[in-house]
């Protein structure tokens, strides 16, 4: 009985987000990624109440939605996962009657390999994974992944690597001249040996590292561009490098779920964030670019001039899209990773 009473009061308290309510929208996005001002403006303009729920990884989000019964309308997965979302029918094509701002997407982000012609998704934010270096410790060329996987003496023992298996593997494979999902055994063997040799020089494999860089715990690492910019703004010894052998470009994209209870509201929201001014709000909050033409004009000054955000032309071509590798390749990566961390 007590439990029933508990459930009843729980229902009152927790489920403001019940399906099908008029004027509702349930957004399922990465944590600390959604500028509250966007939601306020959207509500002011349309009267639609937005409920924001966070996820912490692509795998969590995919697992949640696959199982059904989730009640979400919009999800924001990364590029490498989009094909899975589409092929499993989890997200629906954009309604071009409502989403009229598609033309605002910058041409280079329109025909992306994971969603050619933007049938299903629109850009939310994009960035790169590169290296961050304390230039007061190491003053050589910073556009090299070798700083991390074959580190010079002054950086040894002061390196942090984000624990993202796919990014780290990708950069090591590019270093050895391989393709992202290569099955070439010699390349993979070289990758493993390089990583095993580099591991003793790594101090940590840690995400929440902005403070640790600022405080001087780490002198170099594999890191995301936006986070590196946060580090630099607090400690200008740090600089962000783009490995010339190849570095991952990634993009998080908003899409409407197939079983969205508030489909039309979701399409309206998608259209809403395609406005340059709104997209700039995303960038100012998340510290990543957005892929919408004309949004630069509304961005903070420090974003517009940041070398982490604006890739120099000669380094741009080394950037490569990620790719979800086939299970058997991913298995090899996991095995190497497990060996590395055992």
């Amino acid at each position: 009985m007590k439990r029933l009473a508990g459930w009843a009061s729980a229902a009152l308290l927790g489920s403001t987000a019940l399906a099908n309510a008029e004027g509702m929208l349930n957004l399922y996005n990465w944590g600390n990624y959604t500028n509250p001002e966007i939601l306020e403006r959207f509500t002011a303009e349309t009267g639609i109440q937005v409920t924001l729920t966070d996820f912490d990884s692509n795998d969590t989000a995919l697992a949640r939605i696959r199982q059904g019964g989730h009640g979400f309308d919009i999800v924001v997965p990364s590029d490498t996962y989009i094909q899975t979302w589409i092929s499993e029918g989890l997200i629906q094509p954009l309604d071009r009657e409502i989403v009229t701002n598609l033309g605002n997407i910058a041409p280079q982000w329109m025909d992306v390999p994971f969603d050619p012609g933007r049938e299903y998704t629109v850009p939310w934010a994009w960035g790169t994974t590169g290296v961050i270096v304390d230039t007061s410790v190491y003053d050589g060329d910073i556009n090299s992944i070798g700083l991390i996987i074959d580190p010079p003496a002054e950086l040894q023992g002061r390196i942090n690597v984000i624990p993202e298996m796919s990014d780290v593997m990708a950069m090591a494979i590019y270093y050895h001249g391989g393709e992202r999902c290569t099955t070439d055994r010699d390349t993979l063997r070289a990758v493993r040996d390089t990583l095993m040799a580099a591991k003793p020089h790594w101090l940590a494999l840690d995400y929440g590292a902005v403070d640790s860089y600022v405080a001087g715990d780490f002198a170099a690492g594999i890191y995301w561009n936006g986070a590196s910019m946060r580090v630099r703004l607090q400690n200008d010894n740090f600089a962000y490098g783009y490995p010339e052998t190849g570095y991952p470009i990634w993009m998080d994209n908003a899409a409407v779920l197939t079983d969205a209870p508030n489909r039309d509201n979701a399409m309206k929201f998608i259209n809403f964030v395609l406005q340059p001014e709104i997209a700039a709000l995303i960038s100012n909050f998340a510290r990543y670019s957005n892929g919408i033409t004309g949004s630069e004009a509304f961005m903070d000054e420090e974003m517009r001039t940041a070398p982490e955000i604006n890739v120099a032309a000669e380094l741009a071509e080394a950037g490569r899209w990620g790719q979800a590798c086939p299970q058997e390749v991913n298995d090899i990566h996991t095995q190497i990773w497990t060996e590395l961390m055992q």
Binding site: S57, L203, A204, A215, D217, W337, T338, M341, Q342
Partner: protein, 296 residues
Amino acid sequence: MHGHGWKWLLCTPALIVLLLAASGPLLIVAVYSFLSPGNMGGVVWEFSLEAWFRVFFRRDIFEPDLVEWNRAHLQVFWRSIWLSLQTTFICAVLGFPTAWFIATRPRHTRTIWLFLITIPFWTNLLIRTFAIQEMIRNNGTVNAVLMWSGLIDSPIQMMFTEFAVLLGMAYVFLPLMVLPLYAAMEKMDFSLVEAGYDLYASRLNVLWHVILPQVKPGFIAGSILVFIPAIGAYVTPRVLGGGRTMMLGNLIALQFGQGRNWPLGAALAMLMLVVVVGALIFYLRVVGRNDEARRG
């Protein structure tokens, strides 16, 4: 009385919740460990023993015909167990005197002390872990104080070491040791302690032969509550240990996340369950046997 029915009746509400929210799901995990991994996570409903094979053995990545023991997995298992044992030991060493201290305060202040143990845990685990990080990092509080006092010249590297992990785990799990110990001590019969001293027993003798047997139930409860969750610890090794070496919790999370091999994750989790249950039975047996030996 009327048989055992009423005992079951008292347990029923708890068992219903546990069956629904813990055992049922566990059954799913057991089933998953015998299936094949799906594309990008999940499972395919095809029977397979591959996951269980991979728990114990590995085919060489480059020479698939070469099969050997999966040393990586064994090492992670062993590291987790060893670290949990150390954590339990540290918690016991710190927790026993602390619980004793609380239990021997005047009656009306005991609750206050008890609350004082739990208050730090009203803050979020991650926040607490970050605060510990702040304390022990190279230019953190502890190093600053040590350098200021002239005890050391350059900062001691504490972060991202096993010491940091142990410190963090002891911190996180301490109340799980103190509270059950306190609950047992609070009701202790001090006349027996007095009798011990009357018979000219040393303090150590009284502690060992009079006090410890009386608080043993609390001690057992405490060590179970510390040891078992410590084996699956995830956040502390990752943040304070820097994630350089994997613990069991991290290895299993890897399979369900970036590794996208749910059956392997499920099999590893089932094996962990078996190991923990085995350890628990062994522990209770040993403790129980001592009991009988004492009586006999």
